[in-house]
């Protein structure tokens, strides 16, 4: 898939190509140790039409690179390979199972006169390792969420089952990777929390408790409003990837028709009930439909210890969404769904409008929104809380940022700097465009601010950021 944005330069047409996925493969070097059996190592290869010998060659290079780096550090093998044309990222999520993602560098194609082939210029400094390394790890986490570990599949059905599962999952998943819009938020993989007053928060908690009591099958619950998390009973790591799935895949799939004015939840043939706005986002689309299917997606959590397989029920009323997770060993049918719909639907509808009201009051109290002179990203490593005023909306296909991509990359550079040393740091840079970028790291928290005050000096920028910290993060200490 090529995104092409032509740009005019001195009368000749230049073509700019964004980074794109060249190859994605998974192999296990133990599966074909003998010569002539190399193909057996390959468990998945995208694109599948690549010729067999080329697949073997590319896997061979990865093996050689990993082996070579063990000379210098046996425990920390290669994570990426930079070449003129592309970058390869290596990830070993389970012992001997290697995932490799090859991303082509962005490039500019300059046409030549006299019918000569165009000159291609690769932009080798544009891809950030931290961002795409995180994207690759996310690929595994997402696979594991819906399929469990590679080793479990091997135990259950050998290489055959594993390759089937990989093929089924990645064939579709890779199409949803939008490499040109990946940025710092992928590195954090954080969760956006919905800001709420104590009263409303308690209401939500008591709602969750009541439902879990009435529906004793429910093992875990997660509550979201406006695509932001309010409450979760899952482990942090599991919630992190589930949140990613909900906000970038499931919710956008269901909210876009709403925005377009079709399938309004008010229409009875969709909800089947006029007393509330509740509906299933997974499972049956219409409870009244006699042919309704009661199949829910299965997810795998706590794979490190108890290894639980669960049904994922996502139920939504207006902007409030609740995930109910029930052990996969239980058979779920019409009766259960009707019970859940009857119990949760009215309560959730009420709760959603309460939250909405409360949220509007709070907004009014905080005064009219002024045009801010800054944009920021905040991330807390301890609770994965993330907040960005740079990103407008992240959907399946686009992540819109309101700043120049180069500034986003400077944020990425600063983040890499922070990741290198484990101490508190602050970095203030002035870009060539005269934008100021400030990065602060303090005790597991990171804050990045972009200021558009071209004539400000270092001292004024510092004051501005201090003010921001005082209003937005008044209880967090940042190194001065």
């Amino acid at each position: 898939m090529l995104m092409i944005s032509p740009r005019m330069a001195s009368g000749t047409q230049e073509k700019q190509y964004n980074p794109s996925l060249l190859n994605f493969f998974i192999y296990n070097p133990k599966f074909g140790p003998r010569e002539g059996e190399e193909e057996k190592k390959i468990l998945f290869y995208h694109p599948s039409e690549v010729e067999k010998n080329e697949k073997i060659r590319n896997v061979g290079l990865c093996e050689a690179i990993v082996q070579f780096t063990r000379t210098f550090c046996p425990t920390k093998p290669a994570k990426s390979l930079h070449t003129q044309k592309n970058r390869q990222f290596f990830h070993e999520p389970e012992e001997n199972f290697w995932m490799v993602m090859v991303v082509r560098n962005p490039m500019i194609e300059k046409p030549n006169k006299d019918g000569k082939p165009p000159t291609v210029e690769y932009q080798e400094e544009e891809i950030l390792d931290s961002v795409y390394g995180a994207v690759l790890q996310q690929c595994y986490s997402m696979y594991k969420l819906f399929n469990g570990t590679f080793n479990r599949a091997m135990e259950a059905g050998g290489v055959e089952l594993l390759t089937q599962k990989l093929e089924k999952f990645f064939y579709r998943y890779l199409q949803t990777l939008h490499l040109q819009t990946c940025d710092l938020l992928d590195v954090f993989g954080g969760i956006s929390f919905f800001p709420l007053d104590k009263m409303t928060y308690l209401k939500i908690q008591s709602f969750v408790n009541r439902v879990e009591e009435s529906l004793s099958l429910v093992k875990y619950t997660a509550f979201l409003y406006n695509d932001q998390l309010i409450w979760s009973g899952l482990e942090q790591e599991d919630m992190r990837i589930l949140y990613k799935y909900l906000t970038t895949s499931l919710f956008p799939r269901h909210s876009e028709p709403e925005l377009a004015g079709r399938d309004s939840p008010l229409r009875p043939e969709v909800t089947g009930n006029l007393l509330h706005y509740g509906r299933f986002l997974t499972g049956p689309t219409n409870l009244k439909d006699p042919d309704a299917k009661f199949r829910f997606p299965r997810i795998f959590v706590n794979t490190e210890d108890s290894y639980e397989e669960l049904h994922l029920i996502v139920y939504k009323a207006m902007s409030a969404a609740v995930c109910f997770m029930i052990s996969a060993s239980v058979e779920l049918g019409r009766e259960f769904c009707e019970q859940l719909d009857g119990l949760v639907g009215p309560q959730l509808t009420l709760l959603a409008s309460d939250i909405c009201e409360q949220y509007n009051i709070n907004r009014r109290l905080s005064g009219p929104e002024k045009e801010p002179q800054f944009k920021f990203i905040y991330f807390n490593h301890m609770n994965l809380a993330e907040k960005s005023t740079i990103h407008m909306r992240k959907t399946v296909s686009v992540s819109l940022t309101s700043v120049h991509p180069d500034l986003m990359k400077i944020l990425g550079d600063i983040n890499c700097d922070f990741a290198r040393v484990d101490e508190d740091e602050e970095i203030i840079v002035k870009a060539m465009t005269d934008y100021w970028v400030v990065g602060k790291k303090s005790d597991q928290r990171e804050l990045y601010v972009i200021l558009n005050q071209k004539n400000a000096n270092l001292i004024e920028v510092n004051e501005e950021v201090k003010r921001l910290c005082a209003t937005q993060f008044n209880n967090i200490f940042f190194l001065d």
Partner: protein, 526 residues
């Protein structure tokens, strides 16, 4: 939040619509701190023409300009072509000085080479450097013997050629805590393995230095010739005894800001005394003489050049390295062929190298095009010394040698620990001696590492910066680039941003006041 997003006039909107950065901005550095200060008038800028090849920045170090340079210089100067028998001349018998060889032998003995390459200690080295031929034969390794590493180097070559077979170029491998950088400069392959925070570009630049170090001993012509003749030639035969030059160069790269900044530091000396030294050197000329260089340790006292011939700072650093890596030049007059690769990779100059006095740090390098000119140049040196002694400048020079550095406290800025200032138009820089917390080798290299990472961010090829302020637990740093200068400051962690801003102004004023002493303002030609 959404409101400002849709506001068309929001200054946050991407201005040019496409994802391409605005080309113009990359080179459009901010103006100087004081109004009216433009490039060429910053503190330390030479008043006449620059004495170096005009090196704006380190970027042109990496530019592939050799071909042009060769053409240009060959028109003006006839350098000695390395002849067929140059091999014996150079390698087997080495320099004309036996002493050089002896010295090198003894140096070689102390190299901690016999390391077990599977040991933890070997892996723990901060930076490894390997040089190999395109046949995968080992040529140099910083740590561990080449023999022990021959299979590792074989793998390196295999990786390079495997990627090249796909019409691609291998650049680097990244892992947690270290990276491996590859540079293929035919007929050599150079590989660096580094645990430092340096960027790929910085490491590649260092490998280029090593490459040019080898070229400076052999010329590229001879290097190519050797491998065309015999692909799996063992180049160590030709380079025997020169490993310590590369060892020393690598140490300099870790510690000397001059190599990072593509600039040279001067010995502080009053401008009147320096002018006398320069004019004495200028008067002691000979027909074959191209450059006369007077150095004190790793500081430049003065440089006189033939009109229209420029010395590249990289070549000068290689000369510094040659002189400072062996003490044999102290024992008499040295006469050695040397290739200045940034000037011309194809031919040899002949350098007359001698200390002014055996116990002195002053060393005179006379670079000539004529290999038979030893006695002529020896006479130049005698004439130069005579002139110098006749005038009082010699005394002043001796004084200056006793204080080759200055303390940062002279600047009078509290919390300022250290700084590096480079005048871009002259290619010269100044920096005070390292203060107490940075005097150990580890700390010195750590500070250099910090400067290196600031330098790397400022000069990023696609998203360069105007300035960086970095506040850490050990120190606060500030770096700033303008069209005229580059400045790096290191403050104690107690330093504030307000202090940093006022310190820059105060420091620039101080450098302006001291520029007569710290820089060469009147470079001379013959």
């Amino acid at each position: 939040m959404a409101a400002d997003v849709h506001n068309k006039s929001a200054p946050w909107e991407v201005q040019n619509g496409s994802l391409v950065p605005v080309e113009r901005l990359r080179f459009d550095r901010s103006d100087s701190p004081t109004p009216g200060l433009v490039e060429g008038t910053e503190p330390g800028a030479g008043q006449e023409r620059a004495m170096f090849v005009h090196a704006q920045s380190f970027e042109d170090l990496t530019a592939e300009s050799e071909a042009q340079a060769e053409e240009k210089s060959e028109k003006d100067l006839v350098l000695e072509e390395p002849r067929e028998e140059a091999k014996e001349d150079e390698g087997e018998e080495g320099r004309d000085e036996d002493a050089v060889k002896e010295e090198e032998e003894s140096q070689r003995g102390v190299r901690a080479k016999e390391e077990d390459i599977t040991s933890e200690a070997w892996r723990d080295h901060r930076k490894h450097v390997f040089v190999l031929s395109e046949a995968g034969k080992p040529i140099y390794s910083r740590y561990g013997t080449e023999e022990a590493l021959s299979s590792t180097m074989g793998v390196m070559m295999a990786l390079v050629s495997f990627v090249e077979a796909e019409r691609n170029i291998i650049r680097s491998i990244h892992a947690d805590g270290y990276r491996v950088v590859f540079l293929h400069k035919s007929p050599l392959v150079l590989v660096g393995v580094s645990k430092t925070a340096q960027s790929d570009r910085e490491l590649t630049r260092e490998l280029q230095y090593v490459y040019y170090q080898i070229v400076s001993l052999l010329t590229l012509t001879q290097l190519n010739h050797v491998f065309q003749h015999k692909q799996n030639y063992d180049l160590r035969r030709l380079l025997a005894g020169s490993e310590h030059l590369t060892d020393n160069l690598l140490r300099l790269l870790d510690r000397d800001p001059g190599l990072l900044l593509s600039a040279v530091m001067c010995l502080p000396l009053s401008s009147s005394a320096r002018d006398v030294v320069s004019s004495s050197l200028q008067a002691a000329k000979a027909k074959s003489l191209v450059f006369s260089i007077l150095i004190a340790g790793n500081r430049l006292v003065t440089l006189v050049r033939k009109k229209d011939q420029f010395l590249h700072h990289m070549d000068l650093h290689l000369l510094f390295n040659l002189v400072n890596s062996s003490s044999s030049f102290r024992e008499g007059e040295g006469w050695t062929p040397v290739c200045l690769p940034k000037f011309n990779t194809a031919g040899f100059f002949h350098a007359h190298i001698s200390y002014v006095e055996p116990a002195s740090d002053l060393c005179l390098i006379l670079v000539s095009t004529d290999r038979e000119d030893f006695f002529n140049l020896s006479d130049c040196k005698r004439r130069f010394l005579e002139r110098l002694r006749k005038r009082s400048a010699y005394q002043v020079l001796q004084e200056a040698l006793r204080a080759p550095t200055y303390s940062v406290s002279q600047v009078g800025i509290p919390e300022l620990r250290h700084f590096v200032y480079k005048s871009k138009s002259s290619g010269l820089y100044t920096s005070p001696e390292l203060p107490v917390p940075y005097q150990s080798v580890e700390e010195q290299e750590r500070l250099m590492g910090l400067y290196q990472s600031l330098h790397s961010c400022l000069h990023h090829p696609t998203r360069p910066l105007r300035s960086i302020y970095r506040c850490g637990e050990m120190e606060n740093l500030f770096a700033w680039v303008t069209s005229g200068f580059e400045l790096y400051l290191c403050f104690s962690p107690l330093g504030t941003k307000a202090l940093a801003v006022s310190a820059v102004n105060k420091l620039l004023k101080w450098i302006r006041k001291e520029e007569d002493r710290l820089f060469i303002l009147n470079p001379q030609t013959y």
